[in-house]
């Protein structure tokens, strides 16, 4: 998708900016907005670059740094924390050989902490894209990762 297309779809008024940026970001290979993207959003909406960058830097679902194809967001708030979300983090870091806040060498996965995902009844939980995974165990994590690896080859 092009920045222009996203704005065609959502509309060019300032209130459509966030939605358009989210939709556009989803279609980028590295899940983020480049400086050029932000400048183009600014140009196309007539908003100042500083304002568009301000918005892009404010929301945690928007990123201005390159990320992996799949972003694994691990909830680390109290309900998950008391249900051993720390183990989920360790498990993910070991399996993916990377650290929280970083991206795997193959560019497939990024690990991020997330604020509460609203899945506290199935703690510990994580989200990848639009999919929510709860009651995480080592086995479940492993199968979720395998599923996404498979998907990436399709």
């Amino acid at each position: 998708m092009q920045v222009k297309e996203a704005l065609e779809k959502f509309g060019r008024t300032p209130d459509k900016l966030i939605g358009a940026m989210l939709a556009y970001q989803k279609t980028t290979p590295c899940n983020y907005l480049t400086q050029e993207d932000i400048r183009e959003f600014a140009k196309e909406t007539g908003l100042p670059e500083s304002r568009v960058h301000s918005v892009a830097s404010f929301y945690s679902l928007l990123s201005t740094k390159p990320r992996g194809k799949y972003i694994i967001q691990v909830c680390h708030d109290v309900p998950c924390y008391v249900n051993n979300s720390t183990n989920v983090v360790i498990e993910l870091e070991q399996r993916l050989k990377t650290k929280m806040g970083q991206t795997t060498d193959d560019g497939l996965f990024s690990l991020e902490y997330s604020s509460c995902l609203g899945c506290c009844d199935k703690a510990p939980a994580m989200q990848i894209g639009d999919n929510l995974y709860g009651n995480l165990t080592a086995e479940k994590i492993s199968s979720v990762l395998a599923e996404h690896r498979r998907k990436s080859h399709e």
Binding site: P48, E49, S50, H53, S54, F58
Partner: protein, 574 residues
């Protein structure tokens, strides 16, 4: 007007509905500390040093943001209030470089003053400042984020008054920073160097680029003849640096103080302001008579020049080719004056005292050098820097006896003085153009329609039966409106004056800190008083100007003028 009654610290007050607690308290003699509040800006209420107790409210209330309501009981000096204010200041200091003695704003800083008043001697919190590089990329202003308290005043100024929005909050929570998009250097973005952000910054996070040392060096250099020019607006504002009332006219003391600093010759930019009127007036008539591009736009405000070059380059043909008075002066200092006193241009060191930060940028433009090597104006100092320099030298400004400018660039007119206020260039031009064209003497020299703080002003004059419409705009958000009008073909004006800064140069980005509309009006009033008090009030009647043409320039728009006093502006779109 509806009045509401309330109690502040047990004293009854009655104020018009809608009055903030901050103002109501002030009326009863209580100053509530504030940092993000600015009288000309929207309420931001983010610094939280102005909190007060209001009976019936669960939390403390921001005095700047809360209107007095009927029956309100307000306490501004309780233990709770004092503690909260103190903690807020300590929190700010704990993310700050706390280096007051070596700070550019030492003794002129809102945070420092409030900390001192509240008795904060240290911050009990751990200092968490992550040092950031100081942005020195702009020739005009410097951004030191290590001092920023994130009050947002600069953001509002740049976005609302100048309409540019170069700065914004980037990031969130503890990561929030106030900076240009992508953290780019100011020198790399379409900042016009107006320095308005620095005028409203309560701390030393945005300041003018300081060039004082280079001036001292030149003064100490026995081989240099150091000449200085003073802009019209400086004489009504420099007094503020020394505790005088805003609007005090201190021209004579200003001259004396510069001599005291060791400048060899003290000249007046007003002289070249008169010259500008002659050149620009003839250019206007030339355009009117020979089908040139109209409306013609003034070119004496370098912030405005930066704006049109970067944002409306397609309209550059409308711009007068005249250099600004500062640069005309620089060219004459090195081209005419050097010759006159038998020196080489490079032996002249030319300094200007300006109310403006954009002038620093203008002075280093490649075009502004008559020999292509040395700048015509070597250093531009702002009003604030002159204040500092005088303090460095221990000059007791208020004690000085008044002195006169040096010849040959010392004599000027009321028309030149009013260059300092929005509408002044227009009024000065009208005084001259009218008399040159009609051959009649103006009955009243005051063109009141173009005076005052209204954003866009209009007037019309009858030049031998032709009605010429003119307009005046100040601040770039207004300039933008005028540009759009021109682009849409709806601007039926022959001549438009545009000043980058609100109020014109008296509200320039290099003027004493803390500029407000109230202050601008006082300075403006002083400008017109100074004009009224001068014996000659029309540029074309300045005998020194006449002499300059006779001796050297020969005629307006002539070959020498073309070489020294005019220039070309260019597309610098980013």
């Amino acid at each position: 007007m509806n009045m509401v009654n309330a109690k502040i610290n047990n004293r009854a007050v009655s104020v018009p509905e809608g009055t903030s607690i901050l103002h109501a308290a002030k009326d009863t003699g209580i100053t509530i500390p504030n940092l993000c509040y600015h009288p000309d800006q929207e309420i931001k209420a983010n610094c939280r040093v102005c909190v007060v107790e209001v009976d019936g409210c669960k939390t403390l209330q921001a005095a700047c943001a809360t209107s007095v309501r009927e029956g309100m009981v307000i306490r501004t000096n309780t233990q709770k209030v004092r503690q909260a204010r103190k903690v807020v200041v300590e929190l700010l200091l704990a993310n700050h470089d706390m280096n007051c003695t070596a700070c550019k704003k030492n003794n002129h800083c809102g945070l420092q003053e409030i900390a001192a008043n509240l008795g904060v001697r240290e911050s009990r919190f751990e200092n968490i400042l992550v040092h950031r590089e100081i942005d020195t990329s702009s020739p005009s202003i410097e951004r030191n984020q290590n001092k920023c308290i994130k009050c947002g005043r600069c953001i509002q100024m740049c976005a609302k008054v100048q309409g540019l929005a170069i700065l914004d909050y980037i990031g969130r929570s503890g990561d929030v920073e106030v900076k240009p998009a992508f953290g780019w250097y100011l020198g790399d973005v379409a900042c016009v160097a107006c320095g308005q952000c620095s005028v409203v910054c309560p701390v030393a996070a945005i300041t003018e680029k300081e060039d004082i040392e280079r001036v001292w060096e030149a003064i100490n250099d026995p081989d240099k003849t150091v000449v200085v020019q003073t802009a019209p607006a400086v004489r009504v504002s420099i007094g503020e640096e020394f505790g005088l009332d805003p609007g005090a006219i201190v021209t004579g003391k200003l001259v004396a103080s510069l001599r005291a600093l060791g400048f060899d010759k003290v000249f007046d930019t007003d002289f070249t302001a008169d010259l500008t009127i002659i050149e620009e007036g003839h250019e206007l008539l030339e355009r009117i008579n020979h089908g040139g591009v109209l409306p013609m736009l003034t070119s004496c405000s370098p912030g405005w020049i930066n704006f049109i070059e970067q944002y409306y380059p397609e309209l550059l043909a409308h711009l007068s080719s005249c250099k600004s008075p500062q640069q005309m002066f620089g060219a004459l200092a090195k081209g005419y004056y050097a010759e006159k006193i038998g020196k080489k241009p490079e032996d002249i060191f030319s300094v200007s005292i300006m109310p403006c930060t954009a002038k620093k940028f203008e002075a280093v433009r490649d075009e502004m050098s008559i020999d292509g090597k040395n700048p015509d104006v070597d250093v531009v100092l702002t009003t604030r820097e002159l204040g500092k320099m005088l303090r460095q030298a221990g000059v007791d400004f208020n004690q000085l006896d008044e002195e006169d400018y040096d010849a040959p660039f010392g004599l000027s007119t009321g028309a030149a003085v009013i260059f300092g206020a929005t509408g002044g260039v227009m009024e000065a031009a009208l005084r001259t153009v009218y008399e040159v064209v009609t051959g009649k003497t103006l009955e009243s020299l005051d063109f009141k329609a173009v005076r005052g703080l209204e954003g866009i002003k209009e007037a019309a004059v009858d030049l031998n039966g032709t009605i010429v419409k003119v307009a005046v705009a100040h601040s770039l958000s207004n300039a933008r409106k005028v540009m759009e009008l021109i682009k849409s073909g709806k601007a039926e004006y022959a001549f438009i004056e545009i000043m980058c800064c609100p109020g014109g140069c008296i509200g320039g980005g290099g003027q004493p800190f803390g500029g407000t509309d109230e202050l601008r009006l006082k300075r403006m009033d002083a400008i017109y008083r100074a004009d009224g008090a001068l014996p000659i009030r029309k540029s074309h009647e300045n005998p020194a100007i006449k002499k300059l043409y006779d001796e050297f320039l020969i005629k307006p728009l002539g070959e020498k003028s073309h070489h020294l006093l005019h220039t070309k502006y260019k597309n610098r779109k980013k």
